[in-house]
């Protein structure tokens, strides 16, 4: 597979995804298609099926990459150290970032409900900063990663159990630029 062909397919997929919010009335390749003039296939279904399949395939791959960029990492109670078990998740993000220099990430640190509201803002900041330090340590440019903190203001799980707390002690990763074209790392 050549990267360039993947890229163009991905671009098409991104376009499809972009207008995929509402079931936009299935815009079948508009009439003025100057590229393919000699082969005017009046029955679009077969060609479109093929294109759609490729596009869907590409969209899935792009989505998989975006999902990997968004994969959460978790923390021990009152700690901001990257868990050994989460290093693979960050390594994968670093690789995707290396292959996509336009991508920028916002890392948001979050906490469980224990500890004061205000302290948790500081702790969330440390968690976000820890992920950033790890990624920049893998060669990602400092300016591409922004750190923010929500403290315990936005729990994923509103429960009060160990389980809920474990889910809530996390870093979230949001792609703030370059999400439209994603190349898989080599």
């Amino acid at each position: 597979m050549r990267a360039s062909s993947i890229l163009s397919v991905l671009a098409a997929a991104a376009l499809l995804a972009a207008c995929g919010k509402k079931p936009a009335p299935e815009q079948p390749a508009p009439e003025p298609t100057p590229a393919r003039q000699e082969a005017p296939p009046p029955p679009p279904p077969p060609a479109n099926d093929d294109a759609e399949r490729r596009a869907r395939d590409a969209a899935e791959k792009a989505k998989a990459l975006r999902d990997e960029l968004a994969d959460l990492i978790h923390f021990d109670f009152d700690k901001a150290d990257i868990r050994t078990s989460d290093q693979g998740i960050l390594d994968r993000k670093a690789a995707i970032l290396a292959a996509n220099s336009a991508v920028r990430l916002r890392v948001a640190g979050h906490c469980d409900e224990r500890g004061s509201d205000e302290y948790n803002l500081a702790l969330g900041n440390r968690r976000g900063a820890a992920a950033k330090r790890y990624l920049t340590g893998k060669g990602v440019d400092d300016g591409r990663i922004e750190v923010v903190s929500y403290g315990k203001e936005r729990p994923l799980d509103p429960g009060h159990s160990e389980d809920a707390w474990a889910k809530n002690r996390r870093d979230e990763f949001e792609v703030t630029a370059g999400a439209d074209k994603l190349a898989a790392p080599k």
Binding site: S116, L121, A122, N125, A129, R133, V147, Y150, E153
Partner: protein, 441 residues
């Protein structure tokens, strides 16, 4: 407008003679001046608000204010809120009757044709101890309640030597908005707009402004809100990053706050009206936050994770001499948060987890003794009333996180009325009669 008919000095001296001296005179007024009367801590003299005609609302507010001061045993006679008809005693006060009811003080509130006259009687000596006439704004005026609270505080001062805490307000956070409420739980009003996350309100010493943090997409600036005009300005230097836990210095001209960056969180102090701020701590991947000034402005207590879990430290106001403040046993004592120095400077309130549940503690500055104040439910984020004995804090003892007030002397507590879920209270100093009014939300 306000005149003292009898000089209070004489009356106070008389009271002092009439009452046995306490073992230790802890009576103080703001500014550290001792006054010549001793008030027996823990002893609550009986007080009757004498029924009368008219001004029922004033009588009801004053009666509740004196009750909430926790310095009197309030003695009910008849229905104090229903003062018409025969309840108003004609002629001189029946001292014998009130004495028989256990009262040491009787307070008359008299509708004096546009003015209200308060007369405090020393029942035991059968004399009027103090009297004052005040002109109150109309009951529909936004300043009416505060003006009545000021009168209540003056009555408390006549009787005990220390003014009450009625003429104060509290700020707190509910659903991301900062609210202000009177000390008796009345007239809550929202100051900051809906749909944002505003946190950590802090009063300016003169009660005319508040500082707070506004969280936007995981970042936060420190803002100053002027009560009355509603004007909001951003503290210079907090336009980027995460800036939290603002706290005014006692001079009202400086503001300490914590700023987070990728190396941790550190405490800075800014001079209001000037650009630039001075860094007081050097975190190195630790967090330093929640600064609180001693009332003389010389020291700052704060939370730090320099030794691991968050605990209480103290430093000089210029950042030197940083040291542990509240003793703890590493690996045993729970984390500690949210210190606030008491108005008299003798102690610092904070919360510390006990078996995973936060409880309010008071640290004595001299000798660093600890006293646990709460034990029921989760109790957090305490703030001092100006009398240095009442604390407002967040408690979930009835389920939802609500604001409660405890009198640290008697242990008596009450819920500060507020709907829903509330947190991060901040108690004002005594507010002047020239009232601080917030615009309608």
């Amino acid at each position: 407008m306000r005149r003292l008919v009898f000089t209070s000095i004489g009356a106070l001296a008389a009271l002092a003679l009439a009452r046995p001296a306490a073992a230790q005179d802890t009576t103080r007024v703001e500014g550290g001046v001792r006054v010549g009367i001793s008030y027996n801590l823990g002893e609550r003299p009986g007080l009757i608000v004498v029924p009368g005609s008219g001004i029922d609302s004033v009588r009801a507010i004053v009666r509740r204010d004196l009750d909430y001061s926790d310095r009197f045993s309030m003695i009910a006679v008849g229905d104090p809120g229903h003062g018409t008809g025969s309840a108003a005693p004609a002629g001189p006060l029946n001292y014998g009757l009130y004495k028989a009811l256990g009262a040491e003080f009787a307070l008359e509130l008299i509708d004096d044709g546009g003015k209200v006259t308060a007369r405090l009687h020393d029942v035991g000596r059968s004399v009027m101890a103090n009297q004052q006439s005040v002109t109150l704004p109309p009951a529909t005026d936004a300043n009416f309640r505060l003006a009545v609270h000021v009168l209540s505080d003056e009555v408390a001062r006549w009787a005990t030597g220390m003014p009450g805490i009625a003429a104060t307000r509290l700020l707190f956070v509910q659903n991301g908005r900062i609210w202000m409420v009177d000390s008796d739980g009345m007239t809550p009003r929202a100051l900051t707009p809906d749909g944002l996350t505003s946190l950590s309100p802090a009063w300016s010493p003169d009660g005319r402004r508040m500082a707070f943090t506004k969280l936007v997409q995981g970042k936060g600036g420190v803002f100053l809100y002027t009560l009355g005009s509603g004007e909001v300005t951003q503290l210079a230097g907090t336009e980027t990053g995460l800036n939290i836990t603002p706290m005014f210095a006692p001079d009202g001209a400086h503001l300490a706050y914590a700023r987070s960056d990728e190396k941790g969180t550190d405490i800075f102090v800014a001079s209001l009206g000037e650009r630039g701020s001075q860094r007081l701590t050097a975190g190195r991947f630790a967090d330093n936050l929640s600064p609180t000034y001693s009332p003389d402005g010389r020291r700052i207590a704060f939370v730090s994770t320099r030794a691991g879990p968050p605990q209480l430290y103290v430093m000089a106001a210029d950042g030197t001499d940083q040291e542990l403040f509240a003793p703890f046993d590493f690996g045993v004592t729970g984390p500690s948060y949210a210190p606030e120095w008491s108005p008299d400077g003798t102690s610092v309130v904070f919360h510390r987890e006990v078996s995973g549940t936060p409880q309010i503690f008071v640290l004595t500055v001299a000798g660093q003794k600890l006293r646990q104040i709460t034990s029921q439910g989760r109790n957090e984020d305490a703030t001092w009333a100006p009398d240095g004995r009442h604390l407002c804090f967040v408690s979930d003892r009835t389920g939802a996180r609500q604001l409660w007030i405890i009198d640290a002397e008697t242990g008596r507590n009450r819920q500060l009325v507020s709907p829903g879920w509330a947190r991060l209270p901040a108690w004002s100093r005594r507010l002047a009669g020239a009232a601080v009014v917030a615009p309608k939300p």
